[in-house]
Amino acid sequence: MSNLVILPILIPLLAGAMLVFWRKRLSVVRVITQLITMISLLVSSYIAYIIFQSGPIILETGGWMAPYGIILVGDGLSIALVLTTNIIAVAASFYAPGSLDKGREEHYFYTFFLILIAGVSGAFLTGDIFNLFVFFEVLLMASYGMIVLGGTKQQLRESIKYVLLNLFSSILFVITVSFLYSVTGTINMAQLSERVGQINQDGILTTIAIMFFVVFATKGALFPLYFWMPHAYIKPPAVISALFGALLTKVGVYSILRVFTLIFIGNIDYTHTLFIFLAGLTLIFGVLGALSTNNIKLIIAYNIIPAIGFMIMGIGVYTDLSIAGTVYYLVHDMIIKAALFLIVGAVAIVAGTSDLRKISGLIAHYPLLGWLFFIACITLAGIPPFSGFIGKLLLLKSAFATGHYVIAGIGLITSLLILISVIRIFVQGFWGERMTLPTGKPSITPLYIPISFLLFFSIVLGVGAEWFLPYVQQIGVDLMNPSGYVDAVLKE
């Protein structure tokens, strides 16, 4: 039974490796990828069902008992995020054939894509801090492959910065892990949680905690470490941007969430106050970036940053409710960011440009695309009854309840500014004078399916909030009581 949790990693990894051999037979490769992502989605739904029925699943690889071997842990948080990852993977695998050119598809796009999914799922499921680093590298390697795919001038230019920055933060990650190992003598997260509680060395442990935070904040694009992100994310084609925007930064947020609810909870006054402070700045600077540009892809890429700010704010407030809000917002944001990138990619395909000043009146040509974008916009900004609203409600409610009025105020104002930044695309690009399309009227019907698929989940998540809230609140309670996780892993 416990072998189940390795399947979300194993299925895409093996399939990705297998697809290398058929690179010229694109039709086969596409169908296999779509099948694999759907199988993976079904499998992870089944695992999620089991976990929510009967508690965490622990896999001790090779039969080595928990503190010694490499372990995989599927608890509520992990499996919720793995499930979301697989939903996005299904959408991306159906969007890719209609939007990528033949060269990119033939040069192993699908292999990189599946390995990326395997890496992301692995990072969510691992229960060992060094393996978190390894899975980070797996997903980063796949993303390095994807970001240079096609090899245009701008892509190469931005990918160098992207690779260098991620390489630097990975080195810092290794150093921090070894610091932690020298202080505690273990790299198993559950055992770390125990030992960090026992050792009374606040100074060195807080230093290590902040080093971890710097590493994950770099990967998660938090203020002031977000400068590399927007441009690197928009240069590749839309489907790759969507995968990056939806998955990569969220792995950083997940790591912060995991590490700072499980391991470093000794000095909350210091670390979590810092989080709230940085979350406020992240919200402000991210949304200012989104307002400052006329490039539609860049607007969406900048909108990733305030979303990260909301999540970190939830971690900083640190109550049952705020952690639940963070988890809810995380799931919502992964889906909606992927959907927005896919829609904007479709807009760029039909308009032939991503400069907002040259696009107008698209709704006359593509009414469905326009209304899908409108729904995505108001979901992003958090207008009820869509999914953004519930997450924000939980976060703001907990911030008000604990007296963090300034950050809650910043959050409210930022939500309004986010709405302005995206609705601008709708007003200028879709309304207004009917433009003549430069490339005739390309058919984007195959692209509607994955976009609607993602928006469907987004709407279900908002309208059916009552079904999901108990689970999310349970995750919040579990994360606030790390002893449950520790006991499950170490079997005490």
Binding site: E137, I171, I175
Partner: protein, 112 residues
């Protein structure tokens, strides 16, 4: 022995960071390579270098070197080896396409 190793790691970090701040792409890549070597030596000092026998499963050995840091280093070396070789190829290709290896010229502007 640990002190010596720490100093060596420190020198590698310092040179690595210095090279990382250069403009020429190749120097930056050498900088990252030195940084990762420094990190690996650093992990080695964490597990105590010289404490006893190799960690081999034989009866009666109770003084042995901690095997975990070595396993970590091995993994980390493989990863940094892969990334560095990728980075070299990427830098060469970027140089061929953009006709420059100077980071100042690789800035770019917004609306492309």
């Amino acid at each position: 022995m640990e002190i010596l190793m720490s100093i060596l790691a420190g020198i590698l970090f310092a040179t690595g960071v210095y090279l990382l701040l250069q403009r020429q792409l190749l120097k930056i890549i050498f900088g990252t390579a030195l940084l990762s070597h420094g990190a690996h030596l650093f992990i080695l000092t964490m597990g105590k270098l010289n404490r006893g026998d190799p960690p081999i499963l034989v009866e009666g050995i109770d003084e042995y070197v901690d095997p975990l840091p070595q396993a970590l280093i091995l993994t980390s070396i493989v990863i940094s080896f892969g990334v560095t070789s990728f980075l070299l190829v990427l830098a060469y290709r970027a140089y061929r396409t953009n006709r420059t290896d100077n980071m100042e010229h690789l800035r770019g502007n917004d609306h492309e």
